[in-house]
Symmetry: C2
Subunit: 321 residues, 2 copies
Amino acid sequence: MAVYTEVDDQALSAFLELYDIGGLLSFKGIAEGVENSNYLLHTDAGSYILTLYEKRTNVEDLPFFLGLMNHLAAQDFPCPTPILQKSGNMLGSLAGRPAAIVSFLEGIWPRKPQPKHCGELGAGLARMHITGRDFDLTRQNALSVSGWRPLYNTCNGRADDVIAGLAQEIEKELDFFDANWPSDLPSGVIHADLFPDNVFFVQNKLSGFIDFYFACNDALVYDLAICLNAWCFEYDGAFNISKARAMLQSYTRIRPLNVQELAALPIMARGSALRFLLTRTYDWINTPEGALVRPKDPKECLTQMRFHQDVTSPAAYGLDV
Amino acid sequence: MAVYTEVDDQALSAFLELYDIGGLLSFKGIAEGVENSNYLLHTDAGSYILTLYEKRTNVEDLPFFLGLMNHLAAQDFPCPTPILQKSGNMLGSLAGRPAAIVSFLEGIWPRKPQPKHCGELGAGLARMHITGRDFDLTRQNALSVSGWRPLYNTCNGRADDVIAGLAQEIEKELDFFDANWPSDLPSGVIHADLFPDNVFFVQNKLSGFIDFYFACNDALVYDLAICLNAWCFEYDGAFNISKARAMLQSYTRIRPLNVQELAALPIMARGSALRFLLTRTYDWINTPEGALVRPKDPKECLTQMRFHQDVTSPAAYGLDV
């Protein structure tokens, strides 16, 4: 849960005068997102989310993130729309932080995703990939294969403090990916962080995606691989092929995977597991005791990575190939 | 900020079926209240607050608190209204906690209250006292004069760890109140915790009171004295007589104080300062480092208590007497 920056009511009212969304009726700090401070606003015109970008967000990336949401929403892809100031700006400043207001997206993220949610997600992801095609800004994926070794190095050899033997296992994987990571896959804008808490449903129908603050340009199938890990493993680490099949089938019905993408799915999923293993290991090492936000468990990523190491065909994910 | 209990989306959807407020559109844990977990819900029928009562709330008191809100709201006093289940119950159970849903009250609490806010508050408080007259449940004030010495004793002689010399100062006050606390004042239902974060405004007009979880029966003027301390001292400890005058004048225009109440105002204010000094001292001693909720500073209550010790007439608060 996260409200890092307290907002003064008078400063917020003054900030809202820059917009054309009526007067402020209420605002509540909400326990959502771990990087930034979020408030739910009610104004005369409706409900909105106010985000104050905290120090882990690179301000230079905000035009990409906000521009992408604006681009997608303008083409009826369901996601929050940045509200423009009367001046036309999407980004302002409040309480000493870069700040933006986006439309409020109704919906609930599923605490226990079912195959039907995975099917909805797959179709939504394919639509997002297609809708993102003609977005004209680009942002390199800082957390793709070339970023993993530098990220690992910032753990300062302390990976074994988290899980015994982890350092050696990670190093072996890094070497493997350096030699084998595919580079010729169809690429475009990916969300790159579509965990269940970023995907909303109303009555089990997808109502939209939120939190585009890791979005970037990369292989489209890598986004799908992230979802495979984030949605299709049970709490006990077991892979649920029904969920994976539902997700992949509904994705490919809208955007078919080519031969290279199909072949790359296992290594993509294995790489995605390493990517989250690395950031979680880093957070685990660097989160002080008693911190407001409890770091996520790196172990589940390790289990997933090991699972994908043994996969030789995308058939293991429920695809008919 | 406070979300102590995580709510599962499916359990919440099932819980909402007990009510007649439509389907769930969204729910967000909000950073409001320090005792209980609060969620802002959007349903087909509108906005609501879901509260899960955590262990510091005595379940036996909930019919009083919820009944009072229901009584006040039914007479158009602006406060959240408990939503009845189809069965007629106000109180249910969710995630292993007693739980209730109340209507969402629009409004913003003023971070820097002005005299105009104090005037609105005074009028609202008088209205609440009048509207509460015919509420038929009663609840003793556990934090009134007879509760202070037991509360102080739970600090186990550690008051001096918080502020040097505090123990002796508190003990002197306890003796003074034992001998001088008035017992013949008009009494009724009081809110007992009307700090600025419990009083909402829309465009500087009172939109209502929230958080009735300290409400009880006690001297009405004691409630006013609590507000005097909570609203009329500046951050530097200075008493702002303009704010006090605005509050007291607008209160007495609606509910005049009798001679005994006027005379009692200084000792009531002094006692209210001690009451919050004691609970804050207790919390200060008993809050572990790095806790989610930072304890409030007891020092400001001490400053207020000392101020009222020197007051001999309610004229010091801006009243023409």
